[in-house]
Subunit: 293 residues, 2 copies
Amino acid sequence: MSKPLVNRLCVIGVGLIGGSLARALRNAGQVGEIVGAGRSRTHLETARALGVIDRFETDLGAAVQGVDLVVIAVPLGAMQAVFETIAPRLAPDTVLTDVGSAKGSVVAAAVTAFGELPGTLVPGHPIAGTEKSGEEASFAELFQHRRVILTPHASVSSAALEKVRAMWAAAGAQVVETSVEHHDQVLAATSHLPHMLAYALVDTLARMDDSREIFDYAAGGFRDFTRIASSDPQMWHDICVANRTALLEVLERFTDDLGQLTEAIRCGDSDYLRETFTRAKQERDQFCDTGDV
Amino acid sequence: MSKPLVNRLCVIGVGLIGGSLARALRNAGQVGEIVGAGRSRTHLETARALGVIDRFETDLGAAVQGVDLVVIAVPLGAMQAVFETIAPRLAPDTVLTDVGSAKGSVVAAAVTAFGELPGTLVPGHPIAGTEKSGEEASFAELFQHRRVILTPHASVSSAALEKVRAMWAAAGAQVVETSVEHHDQVLAATSHLPHMLAYALVDTLARMDDSREIFDYAAGGFRDFTRIASSDPQMWHDICVANRTALLEVLERFTDDLGQLTEAIRCGDSDYLRETFTRAKQERDQFCDTGDV
């Protein structure tokens, strides 16, 4: 049998993403031992019982001992504390990556915790997930044919970058690289803004007088549209804080555009309405898969 | 064999909704002959070739001759012209219903065309559909377990109301009744507002500099969220015009709420963010089906 890609893997935060990555690497035969780490013994015991991890530690410093790859899959708001806890205990050649939905704040947290960006750190973000959370929702196929965006810095070690690339490829993902700033702008537009709209829409309707009836009458389109409002509130709080600048920029653009659309409805500006809807339909049909998507 | 519910049905506008209703009634054995009517001979020929209708007329006045039930399934903007064309040709006992997404404008168009609300008219709206359009997208099961909202007026004939109720029940739908005003408010909130947000979001992103990359990076949540932006632009133009007042009211509420959320992100108001996201998640989880919805 050939040597696995990762001899001993430590996953800090064994939830949907961390758990699914552990399962995928195990299925691919690319990992020796998987050590789970986190704050909640109950969750870690469940993850071990499900076979997601082999053993666990609630002491993060102990968890990273003798490990060749650490994946940090905690909410963005917990990232700095994790870096600070493990920094003094990491071996110099242990490769470090994360799965945070914003990258600027992760880099800043690492600089604070380590004093500089470690050459072994490769910030990453798998563009995958569901509105569900937790180790029990995890599954090995989550990353199949999904993109993973890595945002390596100038002084990253090529061995570390190669190892993280190979890990995601083994999990079935397509790996791309971009800058921290560009990642945060693109994700603000494609993910963070839509989540804000879904949350705000459900909240607007929930606070209307006949909210029960309103939800009762909602059809399939509404269910699809608001599915992402069932996402984890703490995680999305952290994303709002972490990617504040880029998110505010797209929120401002969107609010302007919605204001213009509202004005067109008010004035009965048929040309504006038809042109906007037609352009949006064309873009959506063109860029998203056709068929039943 | 027992007599079918509808002896001769006329469907004006054989698209997704009209075509699916024709198919459903035929499958249920509740219709004798189905006459399709509309402007486009090509579409009507396709519908006949597909077996959706038995024959067709492009002269609406001829189409409603000898018919016991007329279903008008044209865009809202075409409703008044249809009423005006058929008004002088309808037999006094021919029952008339429509499937428009807004009801106030349909009632107003009928009053204009007929001089008063005919006792045979039962305005209706099936809460069903996909982002696709046209007779080729129609299917008999579209209304299964879906709601149909009827908004009968005070002077409706009980025979007409009963016939339209029975027709939708035969198509598999659950029929409910409410007022025109209430229908238009509830639909503005649950359907028309989400469509505006989806269109505006796709349009905002399409006009950003790196729009191609933005759509390339979009994950499953984005596809779900923007599916309704692939809906027919002309139909949604007509809805914006027809349900202007109620739509502007919910747009204003939503814009206020989004403004508050934006301000909370700007200020880093963690309590506001957590509370809003938590409330929205609870509402969404509670009111929509649980499981994979």
